[in-house]
Subunit: 244 residues, 2 copies
DNA sequence: TGACATATACGCGATTTGCACATAAGTAAA
DNA sequence: TTTACTTATGTGCAAATCGCGTATATGTCA
């Protein structure tokens, strides 16, 4: 039976369908290290383990809409840069029933988390440690404070690893770093983001040159305040043509 | 209600669930141009239009397994390089019912299509024209022979555009081009693949140097046959560490 | 006013890239 | 057998880029 005929004769009630969820990898850079928002599970399965905020996709709701709804309802965040990451569809990824999960990742500046963390006690911001270099890929570890690695529910560890890989890969060609900064920022702050994500030290003059030559930055004429030394100039992100 | 509680109390029968399909973007490079395998629809909706081979994901089957099954059953191909592309979840993307589709893309050398095209009359190989440059992104046109652009069913035109963008993006850092070549190939053939996908002319000595310096190629010592001029050396792809 | 810390700019060698051109090695015709 | 022809393969060099040390500028604070 070919595809066309099958689809035409398809009776929606006749076949068992998987459930579809969206999981959100809400990342930031906090104190020079990548971090992710997790919620602590208090029930079976994976009770006590940490999971990504997520939820079911409504029948009248697109995947992108579901991701934004979960961003607001479950992660308690307002708008953010959101992008689809990957869809996880192993048969046994949830021990209860067949669930396919579309992972999205979202980026926000660190200071945008404080309100959510106060209002929702089950939420925590975990620091990520990446045990591989470059874009090799593989699992990553999530820790709170200086504690031991957290136990992650389902295949959420795999999701985090993939998100870090994607983040590293898109960093130098896609303005993605600016989603992690406030509207005005210094070149040093931008470099800190790069160094935290790539987990390397970068050469300052070369970094400056590259960023300024790229044409993404717009000098505001203003300078940072509060520094006890020469204040740096504040820049603004000038979106590329196709962007957002 | 938070995510954990919701999932725990979730009754699979209580909520209407979307169907999940896999669509396959089976690409190649034919006569110096990117090409894709399409099937002609003979029923409503989009009767007469062209669609990607696809099918429903079984309840006991992972997404990757479904993609491989569709590769064999619907596209009539044996093994190929297969990679997940993106998941399309607009509410009205199928006029009949809510269907979420996970798009996979697969790559094969041109000569592997001949058997399938002969045995299945509904299949055709359409040449792609990319009206944007670089990795800008956007829709692409599919034509058969020198005819007019084909009408594509559902959001399959969008899928094709995304596949071309991904292909261009991954070309220089990921051995993906070798999936489009036979096991032994000349440097000229490799360059032809690059030029077809990027839609640009490349400088020959520079291309040679880059490829050889990368360490992906292994000289076989053999030479191509049948040329009426100096035959080029045949190379083999030496997979990078993490690959496949 | 001067010490201090960081921002910002400059200079230079090493590496990569684009490109023209020279040389090599096959086939096919004279 | 020789020579013309066509493409493969290699080389040399200018231009652009990158890494990195160092010099200068400009704020704060004692």
């Amino acid at each position: 039976m070919d595809e066309v005929a099958f689809l035409e004769n398809y009776d929606p009630a006749a076949y068992e369908r998987p459930s579809v969820t969206v999981d959100l990898i809400l990342m930031s850079v906090v104190d020079g290290a990548p971090a992710v928002l997790l919620t602590r599970r208090d029930r079976h399965p994976f009770a006590g383990a940490w999971a990504l905020p997520g939820g079911f996709v409504g029948i009248g709701e697109s995947l992108d809409e579901a991701a934004h709804r979960i961003l607001i309802e479950k992660a308690r965040m307002s708008d953010a840069y959101v992008e689809q990451l990957y869809t996880f569809g192993a048969v046994d990824r949830d021990p209860r029933t067949r669930i396919i999960s579309v992972a999205y990742f979202a980026l926000l500046p660190a200071d945008r988390f404080t309100a959510a963390l106060k209002s929702a006690p089950e939420l925590a911001l975990a620091e990520l440690t990446v045990p591989w270099s470059g874009e090799t890929g593989g699992p990553v570890e999530a820790c709170i404070g200086n504690g031991n690695p957290l136990q992650l529910a389902f295949d959420h560890g795999e999701m985090l690893g993939l998100a870090m890989r994607r983040l590293r890969g898109k960093l130098d060609y896609s303005g993605i770093a600016f989603a992690l900064l406030p509207e005005r920022f210094t070149l040093r702050a931008l470099q800190d983001i790069y160094e935290a994500i790539l987990d390397t030290k970068l050469n300052k003059p070369a970094f400056r040159r590259r960023m300024l030559d790229r044409g993404w930055l717009e000098a505001t004429g203003e300078r940072e305040t509060g520094a006890s030394f020469r204040p740096a100039e504040l820049y603004r992100y000038r979106k590329a043509e196709g962007e957002r």
